[in-house]
């Protein structure tokens, strides 16, 4: 699917943000009035290590077009090691999704600190653009959820 074919397409994007860094980074983006598309909806989790691969697949099942997980930069985890585990889990999960033919770029991990409002907003802008160019997620959705 091309971008032009999808002018009307508004992607559904779920962002899992850890409470301590990236959720705060998103807050900073907000208080700095740094815009990004409203397609991104954030779910707060205590730590990126709380994100279960099932949550990500579930989002796709129910019709999400892209899922992004944000956490503290490696080394800065509030719980000291959570994001290291999350990093391994997501590296494997994403590689598997790629392997079964889910388009590149539908999933992403970004480390965003509480001070990186700019990075948060840039990341979300980029991600929305990427998902918009990929178009609707049809490879991982459950057709029963279509309206």
């Amino acid at each position: 699917m091309s971008i032009t074919a999808n002018e009307e397409f508004r992607p559904k994007i779920v962002a899992f943000c850890c409470n301590w860094c990236s959720y705060a980074g998103a807050d900073l983006a907000g208080s700095s009035r740094l815009t990004y598309p409203a397609d991104v909806k954030i779910i707060r989790v205590p730590c990126s290590c709380r994100v279960n691969p099932m949550f990500i697949l579930r989002a796709f099942e129910k019709g999400a077009d892209g899922v992004i997980m944000c956490g503290c930069h490696p080394g800065d985890c509030h719980y000291s090691t959570g994001n290291y585990y999350a990093r391994r889990r997501m590296a494997l999960l994403f590689s598997m999704l790629d392997y079964i033919g889910v388009e590149h770029g539908r999933t992403r991990v970004e480390w965003v600190s509480a001070a990186e409002g700019v990075k948060f907003s840039q990341t979300m802008n980029e991600f929305v653009a990427k998902i918009t160019s990929l178009g609707k997620n049809v490879r991982l959705e459950d057709l029963r959820c279509r309206k």
């Binding site: 129910k62 019709g63 029963r144 959820c145 309206k147």
Partner: protein, 346 residues
């Protein structure tokens, strides 16, 4: 009787499909199962047994019963339409058809299962006699004659020819609709078919399980069998998977579940397996808590409870799929034999 050269089979299939939906055995990445025919689909009539039995043409693994739509705080219920298009089940075997008869006992008895009844009513069964029965077959034990399936139309594959014999009104109607591609059979053909039947029956006699004895298995055997110590030994290798159940042509248990679509709920039913730990789970828990009990249930149902409630009809047809597919090489034959041995030992 009619005939058609095997090489012209696509024409026959096309002719059937022109009229109604056609299901037939198709090999998809190495496994043969019943699938919908579309132009270009190649029939696989050489594989004796499909992996899954053809029962899901009549009783699909999963089917929606109704849909609840949610609009704001209002709910509306939309019943699922019954399947009322005619279809043909092409290439079913005698044992599979016996399986459907077992299902009929369950679903067509009061209260009638309307979903199943609609499919039965609209389906025409074109059977194929078993050209080369296999070592896991034991249909004869249950009185099934795989040389003469009980169907709307029966076919025999002999050499380069496929013989076609309409049996029922439905079968005749189907034959009528595809008469353009069929040739009338002559006496030599009749002979070829009866030879084929003799051949098949001769092979059946040589099958290792053919003389399996069902002595002692009947509707009255509940206490004797239920309390036997044999189960405790037998069940051990069972993995509690649902393979036997899901390949079985007669297993008819299903679960009813709700799926949240985000804008409502789809209530659907799907095959369940008495081997599963949550089978018939209730609020208080489970009435069969051990795998031994679950294992016993499956065979007691097939060989004791079902005949008890259905005039002696067993709900096993001897297709041998469980023999082929059980990951632990456990199956109904081994169960029957174990009891036979127990009887001898006593």
């Amino acid at each position: 009787m009619f005939k058609i050269a095997k090489r012209n089979l696509p024409e026959l299939l096309r002719a059937i499909a022109a009229e109604q939906e056609l299901y037939l055995p198709v090999n998809i990445s190495g496994q043969t199962n019943f699938a919908v025919w579309t132009e270009g689909t190649e029939a696989d009539l050489d594989t004796l047994k499909t992996v899954k039995s053809p029962k899901d043409m009549f009783f699909p693994q999963s089917e929606t019963l109704y849909t609840v739509k949610k609009e704001n705080k209002k709910l509306s219920i939309q019943p699922e339409a019954l399947r009322e298009q005619r279809f043909v089940a092409f290439g079913m075997k005698a044992c599979d058809i016996q399986g459907i008869k077992v299902l009929d006992k369950v679903f067509l008895a009061e209260p009638i299962d309307t979903f199943y009844a609609a499919r039965r009513e609209h389906g025409t069964i074109v059977a194929l006699a078993c050209h080369e029965p296999e070592e896991t077959c034991f249909c004869k034990v249950f009185g099934v004659d795989c040389a003469e399936p009980d169907a709307d139309v029966v076919m025999w594959a002999v050499g380069e020819m496929l013989y076609w014999k309409p049996v029922t009104e439905k079968g005749k109607a189907l034959t009528e609709s595809v008469s353009g591609v069929l040739e009338a059979a002559d006496e030599a053909d009749e002979k070829a078919v009866s030879d084929e039947q003799d051949n098949i029956r001769a092979i059946v006699e040589k099958l290792p399980y053919t003389n399996l004895s069902l002595e002692g298995w009947d509707g009255n055997a509940t206490d004797a069998k239920f309390n036997s110590p044999v189960w405790e030994k037998l069940f051990k290798p069972c993995l509690a998977c649902g393979t036997c159940t899901f390949v079985c042509p007669t297993c008819q248990c299903y679960d009813i579940k709700d799926y949240d679509t985000g804008h409502g709920v789809q209530r659907y039913r799907c095959w369940d397996s008495c081997m599963y730990s949550d089978f018939t789970m209730m609020a208080h828990g489970n009435n069969r808590t051990s795998q031994m009990q679950r294992f016993r249930q499956r065979f007691m149902h097939k060989l004791v409870y079902f005949p008890a409630n259905n005039d002696g009809m067993y709900s096993c047809v001897g297709c041998g799929r469980c023999v082929d597919k059980c990951p632990s090489s456990l199956n109904i034959v081994k169960v029957i034999k174990a009891f036979e041995k127990e009887a001898v030992d006593q």
